[in-house]
C-alpha cells in the first residue's frame, strides 16, 4: 500500500512492476487456496445439502440418492485432485458450476458484477464529493467550525451501513416516497444505496484529509500563493487540496474492496441485484462454488485496486514525481 521509492532506470521500473504482478498473483493463488479449503471444512454432507436445497426439505438422504450427486460433481474424488482441478480452472476464469442453478459460476457472477461495481464506484465518487466539499468548507476555519467539522466526520464514519441504510430507506423511500423502495438498477434506485455506502466513507476520508489539509494551510507555498493575491477558495482548491488528499487516495484503494463487501449489506436492505445478494443467498444455501468464486473475485479486485493506487500515488504526489525525474 505504501508507495515504493521509484528508481530511475526503465529496467528497474520494469522489474518493480514484475515484482508487483508476481505478488498480486501469489496473493490470488493464496486466496483461491484459502477459499477452497474453507469450503471443504463445511459441516454436513455436501451431496445431502444439494438435494435438500433442491427439495426444500431438511431430511437425511439415502446412499443411492447421494451417489448420483457425488458422481455428478466429482465429490468422491480425493480432495487434492478437486483442489488442483479447481485451481487450474480458476486461473482460466472457470469457477465450476453452481450446485443449484446448474450454470457456470463465472456466468452468474458476470451477470451480477456490473450492478455491484456501479454501486461501489458511485459510492466512492459521492464520498469524494461530499468529503472535498465538507473539508474545503470547514478545515482551518478556527476552532469552532473545525470542531463541528471533525465531529461530523467522526460521527459519519461511525455510522454502520446496516443501520444507516434502513434509516435512509425508512425516511426517504418509505416515508417521503422520494425514491423507489425496490432499488432495481436504474439511476433512481442507485441514490440511497450509494449514499448509504458513501456517507461513512466520506466521514472516514475526511478525517484523514482534514489533518493534512490543516497542516498544508501553513505551508510556505500556500502563504506565497496568498501573497500572489490568489483568493482563499482558489488557494484551497488549487494548492492545499492537492497536498491534503494523498492519504485519502491511499485509503480509496482499500475502500473499493471494503465498499464491495459493504454492498453485501446494502444490496440486501435495498433489494438491489448484485454479487452481494448472490453471495448471501449462496452462503445461506451452501452453494459453495458461488461463494468461493465471489470471494476470490473480490480479492482480485482488491489486489488490482491497490496496484492502481500505487500508480495514482506516483502521479499525484509531486515529491515522488520530482524524485523520479
Amino acid at each position: 500500500m505504501t508507495p515504493t521509492s521509484p528508481s530511475s532506470t526503465p529496467r528497474a521500473i520494469a522489474l518493480q512492476v514484475l515484482h508487483k504482478l508476481g505478488t498480486a498473483l501469489s496473493v490470488l493463488i493464496g486466496a483461491v487456496t484459502v477459499a477452497f479449503f474453507a469450503q471443504t471444512a463445511l459441516p454436513g454432507n455436501r451431496a445431502t445439502a444439494i438435494l435438500n436445497i433442491r427439495a426444500g426439505q431438511a431430511v437425511q438422504r439415502t446412499p443411492e440418492e447421494l451417489a448420483q450427486i457425488n458422481q455428478q460433481y466429482g465429490l468422491e474424488r480425493p480432495l487434492v485432485v478437486q483442489y488442483l482441478d479447481y485451481l487450474v480452472g480458476a486461473l482460466r476464469g472457470d469457477f465450476g458450476h453452481s450446485y443449484q442453478q446448474y450454470r457456470p459460476v463465472a456466468e452468474i457472477i458476470g451477470e451480477q458484477l456490473g450492478a455491484t461495481v456501479v454501486l461501489a464506484l458511485t459510492a466512492i465518487v459521492i464520498a469524494w464529493i461530499l468529503m472535498v466539499v465538507w473539508v474545503t468548507l470547514t478545515a482551518g476555519r478556527g476552532p469552532r467550525v473545525g470542531a463541528i467539522g471533525s465531529l461530523v466526520d467522526v460521527t459519519a464514519a461511525a455510522l454502520p451501513a446496516y443501520w444507516l441504510g434502513i434509516i435512509l430507506l425508512l425516511v426517504f423511500a418509505l416515508g417521503l416516497r422520494l425514491f423507489p423502495v425496490i432499488g432495481g438498477t436504474g439511476p433512481a434506485g442507485l441514490v440511497l444505496p450509494a449514499l448509504t455506502l458513501a456517507i461513512p466513507l466520506a466521514g472516514f476520508l475526511a478525517q484523514a484529509t482534514r489533518t493534512e489539509f490543516e497542516r498544508a494551510l501553513d505551508q510556505p507555498f500556500v502563504i506565497s500563493a496568498r501573497m500572489r493575491g490568489q483568493g482563499d477558495l482558489g488557494v484551497r482548491l488549487g494548492h492545499v487540496l492537492r497536498h491534503a488528499i494523498l492519504p485519502a487516495i491511499t485509503l480509496t484503494g482499500w475502500a473499493l474492496g471494503a465498499t464491495l463487501s459493504g454492498a453485501v449489506v446494502v444490496e440486501s436492505i435495498f433489494s438491489r441485484p448484485g454479487i452481494g445478494q448472490v453471495l448471501v443467498t449462496a452462503v445461506n444455501s451452501q452453494d459453495l462454488p458461488i461463494v468461493v468464486g465471489i470471494v476470490v473475485l473480490i480479492s482480485a479486485f482488491y489486489v488490482l485496486a491497490n496496484l492502481l493506487v500505487d500508480i495514482a500515488y506516483t502521479i499525484v504526489d509531486p515529491r515522488l514525481k520530482g524524485a523520479a525525474s
Binding site: P43, A157, Y162, Q207, I294
Partner: protein, 285 residues
C-alpha cells in the same frame, strides 16, 4: 463499518486536548454501559424476554422508555440486558484480533527470512479478503453463534493490525536506540524485551480501545444479517434484525438499538484517540 482497517494503520490524528467534554461524555456513557453489563437489573425495569402480550408494539412512553416489541417486551430493558453480550463479543473480538496480530506481526518482523516471508505473504493474503468475507467464510463453516462472531470478527480484522504491528516492530528495530544497544553488545533477547516490544506495542493500547468499538459495530452487523446471535437474544444487532419486520409500524425498534451502537462506537473512538494522543506525548518526552 467501513472505517476499520486503515483507521488503525493511518489513524488520523486530530487535535483533541482542547475539547475534553467529548471525552467526559464518552467515559460517562461507557460507565453507564459497564453498569448495564454487570448489573442489568439495576437499570432495567423488566426482564429481557418477559413477554406481555397486552402491551405489544407500544411507542416510547414513560412506562416503556424505548417502546415495546411485537411480544410486548420492553425495548429499553432488552437493550440494557443485551449490553453484556454485545460488549463481551466486541471486547472478545478485539482481543482475538490483537493477539493474532501481535503473533503474526512479530513473526513477520522478527523471524528468520523464509518464515518471515511466508507469514508476511499469508497476512497479505488474509488482508486481501475483505473482513466481512472472512467472517462470512468462517460462519459458513461453523454456523452462527456468539463464539463464531467473536472469532469471525477477530480473524477478519486481525490482518490489518498485524501489518501495523509488523511496521511498528520494524521501525523500532531500525531506530537509533536499538542500533546503539546492538553496538553496546546487548543480547538479542534483551534488546527485544527492553526496547523493541515496549515501543512497538505501546500504541496497541489505544488501538485496542478503538477496535472494541469497531468490533461491536461489526459483530452487530453480522447479527443483523442473521449470521450471528439470533432473536430473541437482546444482543443489539439481533434487536435490529428482529425490528426490521416492524420498521413501518414501530420504527423505534430500529432507531434506539442503532443509536446505542453508534454512541458506543463514537465513545470508544473518542477514548481511543485520546489514549493515542497521550501515549504519543508520553513517548516524545
Amino acid at each position: 463499518m467501513t472505517a476499520l482497517r486503515p483507521s488503525v494503520i493511518d489513524a488520523p490524528r486530530v487535535a483533541l486536548t482542547k475539547r475534553p467534554w467529548s471525552l467526559y461524555l464518552s467515559i460517562g456513557l461507557l460507565a453507564f454501559l459497564a453498569v448495564a453489563a454487570v448489573a442489568p437489573n439495576l437499570l432495567a425495569p423488566y426482564g429481557p424476554t418477559a413477554i406481555d402480550y397486552d402491551s405489544a408494539l407500544q411507542p416510547p412512553s414513560f412506562l416503556h422508555l424505548f417502546g415495546t416489541d411485537e411480544s410486548g417486551r420492553d425495548l429499553y430493558s432488552r437493550v440494557i440486558h443485551g449490553t453484556s453480550q454485545s460488549l463481551l463479543i466486541g471486547i472478545g473480538a478485539a482481543f482475538v484480533s490483537l493477539v493474532l496480530a501481535v503473533i503474526l506481526g512479530a513473526l513477520a518482523a522478527l523471524s528468520v527470512k523464509p518464515v518471515a516471508i511466508l507469514v508476511d505473504r499469508s497476512v497479505e493474503i488474509l488482508f486481501a479478503f475483505p473482513a466481512l468475507l472472512l467472517a462470512l467464510l468462517l460462519i459458513a463453516i461453523t454456523g452462527p453463534s456468539a463464539w463464531t462472531q467473536v472469532f469471525a470478527v477477530g480473524l477478519g480484522t486481525a490482518p490489518g493490525y498485524a501489518r501495523m504491528v509488523r511496521g511498528q516492530i520494524l521501525a523500532a528495530k531500525n531506530s537509533g536506540y536499538v542500533e546503539a544497544a546492538t553496538a553496546l553488545g546487548h543480547s538479542r533477547g534483551r534488546i527485544l524485551h527492553e526496547h523493541i516490544l515496549p515501543n512497538a506495542l505501546r500504541p496497541l493500547v489505544a488501538v485496542f480501545a478503538l477496535s472494541i468499538g469497531q468490533s461491536i459495530v461489526w459483530a452487530s452487523g453480522l447479527s443483523f444479517l442473521g449470521l450471528g446471535v439470533a432473536p430473541p437474544s437482546p444482543e443489539w444487532g439481533a434487536l435490529l434484525d428482529a425490528g426490521r419486520a416492524y420498521v413501518t409500524q414501530a420504527s423505534w425498534l430500529l432507531l434506539f438499538p442503532g443509536l446505542v451502537i453508534v454512541a458506543l462506537a463514537l465513545s470508544a473512538t473518542s477514548i481511543g484517540r485520546h489514549l493515542q494522543f497521550y501515549l504519543e506525548k508520553g513517548r516524545r518526552t
